[in-house]
Each structure stands twice: as structure tokens, then as C-alpha cells.
Symmetry: C2
Subunit: 196 residues, 2 copies
């Protein structure tokens, strides 16, 4: 095969993989991971199940690709997290309910026994709490105006983001997710009476 | 059948139903609702699947009983919610990871398409947000010290409780759920500089 053709084949293969990952995201949003079948993903991209196995030999291998895709969205290359970027991320999330649904469903499942995404989420939260603590320290120093340390505040920040997503997915008309998150950020900036 | 025997039969039947619901809670904690099978629940209580269907004719009927059980735990009869009761509830939850796992898994699944618990959770959150707003108003009046209304604070309170449960279930060694929740309650009591 000439060099150009090999390149084309590789590009086509990567495009196909990306297409399969997108289909998997949709199927997981609809049915959860345990409820998702490789057959349903294959059908959505016009492959046989055997054809799909050429790209992802197991359902768990496909899940790994889905979770890697997730990591890419959060990454802010060459940039540290800032409070205003975080508020913008929540605004952006409110425009992509499908993706948020995929990962809220996966997070929920991950706490069940032996779930293949459990380790991923456990490690991810250790990292996310550390990143958020670093961001809070850059903004406020070693104590927030209310006296809490960045390390004690970080789990609350992460919890509010996740918890609001469930309320918003269930009832988007009643829950203003970005507004509620901005309210929470404003709480963090409040000062104690005795300090300035 | 004499009256006493009929009573005994009814008591036995209710005990059996309660036993089945407890088994269902366990199976959902382990596998989620979509991953749970009536066969697995039947096996855990020593019934055939046919025997189980005598008590709960469908899997969804069993789910309804599970969700009713959940409602009973939250109910504080003849008492309004108070902030200190809520902190105690979170302390209590930290001693029953199995139950919290069941409902965190169900909440996660409920955002997927056509899930039978979706309506339950949607309605439940409308009610819980209203209860929390009422509690905050009883504690702080029409504005919290930080200036937010009880209605704008309620979704944050609920989000923190739910979000902390996921972090804690995934990593109980790293996450002090009751301590983090108390930190959040203390944030709510902080005052703005310009007010007293």
C-alpha cells in the first residue's frame, strides 16, 4: 500500500473510532453503561457487532475510550483553573445536556459493586479536589474569607457542581444550574464579620 | 379460617414483603436497578421467581415499594426540618453506606431515558427544595445573612448533600461527609460585612 493510502486508512480508522465513541456516549446517556450493549452502539454507526469489535475488543475497552474523551473536555491546556472559568464551564454544560447525562449516569453507576468506572471516578475526584483546592488558594490564600481552608472547601465545590447536574437534568425548567452555581461562588467570597 | 389465623397470615405476608424490599435494596446497591433481576431478589429471600411475583407482580411494582421505603426514612413525623436535624441526618447516613449506595445508584440511573424512577425523583426534588426553603426561612427569615433568599439557597443545600454522597461512597477514607456538610452549613450562616 503506498504511503498516502496508509495515511488515509489510518485517518479513516481514527474517524471511525471517534464516531463509535460518540455513539457510545449517546447509548450510555439513554440506558446507562450496564444497560448499554455493544450491539446498540454498532447499530448506531452502521457496523455489525463483529465490525465494532475490530475497533474496541470489549465493552470495557470502549468505556475507557469514553472516559478518556471525558478527560479531554475538562482539561484547560496550559491554564490553571480560575473561578470565572469554572462558572463558564457550568454555563457551557447547561448547553450540552446529553454529555452531562452520560456522565451523571456513569457516576451514579460507579458506586455499585465492581463497576468498571469506579476506579476512574475515585482517582478523578482525588485529582479534581486537588485542582479546586489549588484554584481556591490562588484566589483566596490559605483561608477563604469565611475561615475555611481551600482543602475543606474543595469537596463542597465539587459536590455542588455534581448535585446541581442531577437536579437540572431531572427538571431543567425549575433549576437554573449556572445561576445556582454563581450563587454558591458568591457564598465562598463572603467575609466573616470580624475580618476584612 | 379463624380470625386469628387470618391475622397471622396477614402479618406473615407483610413481613415477607418487607424482607423482599430489603433484599431489593441490596441488589440495587450492588447492580443498580437496570442491572437488578427479580430472580436475584427472589434467591436472596429463598423464594422462586414465581413466588416473588405473588408479592410484587412486576419489577416496577417492587421499585415503587423501594421508593416508598425511602420516603419513610426522610419523614420527620410532626416535626419541621431544622438545620441541626439535617446535620444529624447526614451523620446518620454516614453510618449506613448500603442504603446511601442504593439511592445514589438510583438517582444516577433516573436521568437516563424512560427510567421508571425519573418521575419519582423529579417530584421528590421539587418537594425537598420546598421543605429546605421553608427550613431556611424559619432559621434566617426572607434573606440569609449572605443576602440569598431561602429559595435560591435550597438547591445548593440539596446539591451538596447529594454530591458529597458520591464522593464519600467512592472514597470514604478521604471524604469526611458529615464534617464537609457542617462546613457548608457554617457558610450559610456567614454574614456580609455591611450587615449584622
Amino acid at each position: 500500500m503506498p504511503y498516502g493510502d496508509a495515511m488515509n486508512a489510518r485517518v479513516r480508522s481514527e474517524e471511525r473510532r471517534a464516531e463509535i465513541v460518540r455513539a457510545a456516549l449517546e447509548v450510555i446517556a439513554e440506558r446507562g453503561y450496564r444497560g448499554a450493549s455493544l450491539g446498540a452502539v454498532a447499530e448506531r454507526v452502521g457496523l455489525t457487532q463483529q465490525g465494532l469489535l475490530h475497533y474496541f475488543p470489549t465493552k470495557d475497552a470502549l468505556l475507557v475510550a469514553v472516559l478518556q474523551e471525558r478527560d479531554q473536555w475538562d482539561a484547560v491546556p496550559n491554564t490553571r483553573w480560575r473561578m470565572d472559568l469554572l462558572a463558564s464551564l457550568v454555563e457551557y454544560n447547561a448547553m450540552r445536556p446529553g454529555i452531562i447525562q452520560t456522565f451523571s449516569a456513569l457516576l451514579g453507576e460507579s458506586v455499585t459493586e465492581g463497576h468498571p468506572a469506579r476506579e476512574y471516578f475515585t482517582e478523578r475526584y482525588v485529582q479534581v479536589r486537588a485542582n479546586m483546592a489549588e484554584m481556591l488558594r490562588a484566589e483566596y490564600g490559605d483561608r477563604l474569607p469565611n475561615g475555611l481552608t481551600p482543602e475543606r472547601t474543595a469537596p463542597l465545590l465539587v459536590a455542588v457542581m455534581d448535585g446541581l447536574q442531577y437536579q437540572w437534568l431531572l427538571d431543567p425548567e425549575s433549576v437554573d444550574m449556572p445561576g445556582a452555581f454563581r450563587d454558591f461562588l458568591s457564598l465562598l467570597g463572603e467575609r466573616r464579620e470580624e475580618t476584612d
